[in-house]
Symmetry: C2
Subunit: 411 residues, 2 copies
């Protein structure tokens, strides 16, 4: 960590899957950069590292001028600078790195902020490692985002809270919708999370406040048992005709095979098209075959990550803050790090932001602790919901034009 | 129409598919009934006409006591009294009607309010016809609701505005999400509306205000041409990599065959399971086969009708009002009618509520005028969007508990 003041320009990029809060972090980084005199120009790179390689830059000081600009950007879902899924080659292939660093030098870029998830942190780690062997002084910072909440070494990730709020809200409303009829029925809601069940678990948060939600909740962290699943539905239907099931898209059977692959349920052979099925659709057909009642599956799909009309204030405030803090850390001399959240041991929810080395986070996955999953593997504990609940709290008034969300678009 | 004052009890039922505004109308009927001294007890029938036949009543005066009760109910999606899909037999089968009217007499019920769509109005029409041949004085009123907006003789229906607002918002957000990558891709959003394209057309409203939305919009009112569809995507992809398509679930080819049936696209034979496919999924596979680019389909599904977290103030205000007006009309002596909206010919959006005979509405479907669909049948006109736009305007602050919508539940 260099303590010296480093003067020059900054570049910001966004990468990986969209979230509803990734632009709040972009706004935070720009705000932070504007507060530090050693940072001159603030470039936005279009489509992350691809934009850096192609020198496809926009001027963030020109783009964001008023408080209203910032506010609208903070409430706009999906990466306003565009995104990419571009993996940098291994460090031995120096040509790409030489090219990138020649762009940095050409534009006097001394500060690099890449907002992304675990894959994007691989890019930050590789650039930081290369920076170590050059004599060009530059500070490279990863800034976290992912709705999946599966980054290592952090209490949670920016973007998760708003996605979790959408999931909790949608499943609660679907449960109300399904409650109106007396005909026995099963409704299966498929929720994002290929490797970790943070979002699927969030479906159950409304239970803490006596609100409707899923009756059964399945996470990838516990093996899925088809027979238990059917038994549990039949048992529940003895007292309640309408059963709502929340399943993570990534649930697996005891042999680690994805339910969404359809191999275990025996339905895949009939489909012919593997890409047709998700876990929800597979289970829909399984329930139809085994129980024969009315059954429907709903894939919450993209709205989970792009519903900017329903934001968690906690999430947006923290997403802005982590962007600002990334700049503060860089100006203090940090590089090759990512600021993450540590939760205080207090009654009231409180986090502080601390830097951790980016290699400790890159390409890793943080799963839900199985202590939070019940013995029958069909729900999560109230203790766990109390951990998740503060992250979806607080309302943000969304900028609208005649009832339609107003989005900040960077051409 | 009897002009005499009729004193007795009232019963309210809800039926058909849920909407986000059907409880606002329930609240409106109860408020209206409370304002008229000739109405004594106000019964809520559980699950519509089924609850009337079974004398399964709740006391609405006890259930709704405070302003807060009413407000929470108004913002709660899906029928709080429960719903049903029960078709009454033809008038010749008098036994059922005798049973229902014996319940009316037993409980001194003189006012009946059934909140529902075109099917539910069939029930109102049959009960009204039977009432004509009895000597029991009773006033039977239909109160409109349906997200489909396909009731005859009305400018629009309560429940449509909030559903349209959800569709417009979700598609706009999905379009932003899809815009972040540079890889050519097609995203197909399937929207409710088996017979009429009102909701699918609403997806395009954000265009009026310069906001992102679907590039192509297909309604059931115009025949769907597979080749034109592919040509239009290829043409659009010359200038824009990410194409968003909004399709009504009920689109049909030139021979009137549903696209969702999969017969025309040639994909159904490969599936084996017809129930797997909707129009969106069928078209997803069709684009994959014909163009070969990245393609995804999203079924907006139940959230279209139950997203109480995103309400149109115009819709909720009108939904309450039409409930109150139904009571006012009944106390004036009307029966066998349904109050509907007539739009004033004024620059500013304004409606008045007028009664029409329920038989004129029952079992009929109001379609979108094809003059609003463009020549290529792949979008709707700005004129049409200006007709729809006022219906989604205005925001309602939703009652929440720690970030989760607070629903009013009647046990």
């Amino acid at each position: 960590m260099s303590e010296s003041t480093l003067t020059g320009n900054a570049v910001i990029g966004q990468s990986g899957g969209p979230t509803a809060a990734i632009n709040a972090t972009l706004a935070g980084v720009v705000k932070g950069a504007m507060e530090h005199n050693e940072i001159k120009e603030i470039f936005g790179a279009k489509h992350g590292i691809v934009g850096i390689m192609n020198e496809d830059f926009v001027n963030m000081r020109e783009i964001l001028q008023t408080e209203d600009d910032f506010y609208t950007l903070e409430c706009t879902p999906a990466a306003a600078l565009g995104s990419c899924r571009h993996k940098l080659p291994p460090p031995e292939e120096t040509e790409v790195y030489e090219k990138i660093f020649s762009v940095f030098k050409k534009h006097d870029i001394r500060y690099v902020f890449l907002i992304g998830g675990n894959d994007s942190m691989d890019t930050v780690a590789k650039l930081s490692a290369y920076a170590e062997i050059t004599d060009y002084e530059i500070r490279i910072i990863g800034v976290p985002k992912t709705i999946d909440n599966d980054l290592e070494l952090t209490d949670h990730t920016p973007g998760f809270g708003s996605a979790a709020k959408y999931v909790a809200t949608a499943v609660s409303e679907i449960a109300r919708d399904c409650s109106v009829y007396i005909v026995p029925a099963v409704t299966i809601v498929e929720i994002m999370g290929r490797d970790a069940g943070w979002l699927a678990a969030s479906a159950a948060i409304p239970r803490l406040y006596g609100q409707s939600t899923a009756d059964l909740v399945y996470l990838p962290e516990a093996p899925f048992d088809y027979d238990c699943f059917i038994d549990d539905i039949i048992e529940l239907q003895k007292t309640k005709p309408n059963i709502v099931v929340a399943v993570s898209e990534g649930i697996k059977d005891e042999y680690g095979r994805y339910v969404g692959d359809g191999t275990q349920s025996g339905l895949i052979d009939n489909f012919g098209h593997k890409y047709l099925a998700g876990a929800g659709k597979i289970l829909e057909n399984y329930v139809r075959r085994r129980i024969g009642c009315k059954v429907r599956s709903i894939e919450l799909s993209l709205p989970q990550r792009c519903s900017g009309h329903l934001l968690s204030k906690c999430d947006i405030d923290e997403s802005i803050l982590v962007g600002k803090e990334a700049v503060a850390l860089a100006t203090k001399g940090e590089s090759g790090i990512i600021p993450v959240f540590k939760r205080e041991n207090s009654d009231e929810y409180k986090v502080r932001i601390v830097p951790v080395p980016v290699e400790a986070v890159a390409n890793k996955i943080r799963k839900v602790d199985t202590k939070y999953i019940n013995e029958r593997s069909n729900n999560v504990s109230d203790d766990f919901l109390r951990v998740l609940a503060p992250l979806i709290e607080g309302e943000i008034e969304i900028p609208k034009v005649h009832g339609v969300p107003k989005h900040f678009v960077i051409k």
